[in-house]
């Protein structure tokens, strides 16, 4: 069922830093907030709702609200890893439609690169974690968990490393035009499959970058959007879901996108074939492959063929994706890529992406976030947006 009140994204900002040795995380949150409010044509006194993830400094959003000097009547700090920010957009849509707030600010910031976070270190969420004793002794690391998902997909559907490599190739074609991207060299399938294996079958170039930085979004009511003009982007549908190990009965070939996608498409009243541009979460190449299948851009198991036909490359493919270079080439601020997925989709709908990658007459865009680990507990959130006149 469609929400009767249409809500808009009025402002976005992506921090240009990729290594912030001289800035605190709180400072980065404030800088992206200022950037997004300026982009929207609003000030911080207009903000009455604030959304952040569970790792923002302080208890929920309270410390950051104090640091930035916000006066709030609504707050939400839902934590689903890298998908959090697309969840926040959905929750802001509901809050605004319910009249709980009018201007919702969503921020993300992190500096894992400056802090020397090692991608090989196991994540540990503490002693109360019920599954801890049954997982941590085996040294699960994000790379070997996604490696198992890739291995199983290959086993069931005949997917190859060369096909997965095409996802990185497409991202690199886009990143060459982004002056802020960490990796701007165009790479080939051979470059990817000849890069060192991190955890079978994933190579170094199948993995996203580690970067500092952040981003922010400003979500507003229809009345405020009307006063701000046509750079506002209309939110048409959002869906979110969680997938876990289901008491020991699960598969590794689907993500939670199989649930979040249909909810978002139904609310927007559109189909995958209608989408002009897609931002797809790309922590690893396999994340993209499973997600585009789960969202219905191709059948389950046919993702390998879809991507190796060059379909993700802007200008030639059916589904131009991650035209900023994505997490694979551009950035992955705070090890959380959902925020930048929304930002690039907004750029596409405004016609403000780089000219070399701008999708002509882009009227409908999708952004998808994946959080946690697709081989353990994972969140998904799908957002469908339209141009102001959509």
């Amino acid at each position: 069922m469609s929400r009767s009140c249409k809500v808009y994204i009025a402002g976005v900002f992506e921090h240009p830093t990729r290594k912030a040795v001289d800035k605190t995380i709180a400072q980065l949150h404030a800088e992206v907030a200022i950037g997004a409010l300026k982009d929207a044509g609003l000030t911080k006194s207009d903000v009455d709702g604030y959304f952040c993830d569970g790792v923002a400094p302080g208890l929920g959003g309270m410390s950051m609200a104090e640091y930035m000097g916000l006066d709030l009547t609504y707050t939400d700090s839902t934590e689903t890893g890298g998908s959090s920010y697309l969840v926040h957009v959905g929750h802001a849509m509901a809050a605004i439609a319910a009249g709980k707030c009018k201007v919702a600010l969503i921020t993300l910031a992190g500096r894992p690169r400056s802090e020397g976070v090692k991608s090989l270190a196991a994540r540990d969420y503490g002693n109360d974690l019920p599954e801890r004793g049954f997982e941590m002794p085996y040294a699960p690391v994000i790379t070997n968990m996604y490696g198992m998902a890739a291995k199983r997909h290959m086993h069931e559907f005949g997917t190859t490393s060369e096909q997965l490599a095409w996802i990185k190739v497409a991202a690199s074609h886009h990143a060459q035009h982004n002056e802020n991207a960490m990796l701007r060299n165009v790479v080939t399938v051979e470059d990817v499959v000849n890069s060192p294996v991190i955890s079978d079958p994933l190579h170094r170039l199948d993995c996203c970058v580690i970067s500092d930085g952040g981003g922010a979004l400003v979500v507003v009511s229809p009345e405020i959007a009307k006063s701000l003009g046509d750079r506002c982007v209309k939110l048409l549908g959002q869906g979110e879901a969680i997938k876990h190990l289901n008491s020991g009965r699960f598969d590794l070939t689907h993500t939670a996108a199989v649930k979040s996608g249909p909810i978002a498409f139904a609310e927007a009243g559109v189909t995958p074939a209608d989408i002009d541009y897609a931002s797809i979460y790309d922590s690893f190449t396999i994340t993209v492959l499973e997600t585009i299948e789960d969202l219905g851009f191709c059948a389950k198991g046919e993702g390998g063929k879809f991507v190796s036909d060059g379909n993700l490359i802007s200008g030639t493919g059916k589904l131009p994706f991650n035209t900023d270079g994505g997490g694979l080439c551009n950035n992955h601020p705070g090890n959380r890529g959902g925020m930048t997925k929304v930002i690039e989709a907004v750029r596409q709908l405004r016609g403000e992406a780089h000219a070399k990658v701008q999708v002509p007459d882009c009227t409908l865009a999708l952004a998808h976030g994946t959080g946690g680990s697709i081989a353990q507990r994972t969140g998904a959130a799908t957002l469908i947006m339209g141009r102001n006149d959509a």
Binding site: G133, M148, S247
Partner: protein
């Protein structure tokens, strides 16, 4: 006679974290026993073991000893670790799929659906850690 299994060096296994719900599981590992939990009300087995059945929410969950046999559902050789190891999900004969490592194996010949059996390793605590190795062919 079967070929001797290739022995790869293994890392030291940390003491597992244990709580009131899982004491019996870890005690059993000291006798090289792998325990599972099933529910007396709905009859379903679940993993990881809990006081409350995740299928029907009953508190009548009971321990039983697993066969220790299973098949590899998926695996990934963590080559970039200081001591490379095999991360795996193994589907037990009892129907649940559990996270583990595969040891006593040749990294290059492991396969999905391969038969494996439980083997125990000492940890840095008093408990042992269940892992799996390819089932011997003899």
């Amino acid at each position: 006679m079967s070929q001797p299994q290739k022995q790869n060096p293994e890392r030291a296994y940390a003491e597992p974290s244990i709580n009131m719900e899982t004491e019996a599981y870890w005690d059993a590992t000291k006798q090289d026993k792998l325990l599972l939990k099933s529910c007396e009300d709905c009859g379903e087995t679940h993993w990881y073991p809990r006081a409350i059945c995740p299928h029907c929410s009953s508190s009548n969950t009971v321990w039983f000893e697993a066969s220790g046999k299973g098949k590899i559902y998926s695996f990934s050789v963590m080559r970039r670790a200081e001591i490379p190891y095999v991360m795996a999900y193994v589907t037990l004969a009892e129907g649940v799929t559990i996270l583990t490592n595969i040891v006593e194996c040749d990294f290059e010949t492991l396969e999905i659906d391969q038969d494996v059996e439980v083997v125990f390793r000492a940890t840095e605590g008093d408990q042992a850690l269940p892992l799996f190795r390819p089932t011997s062919q003899d």
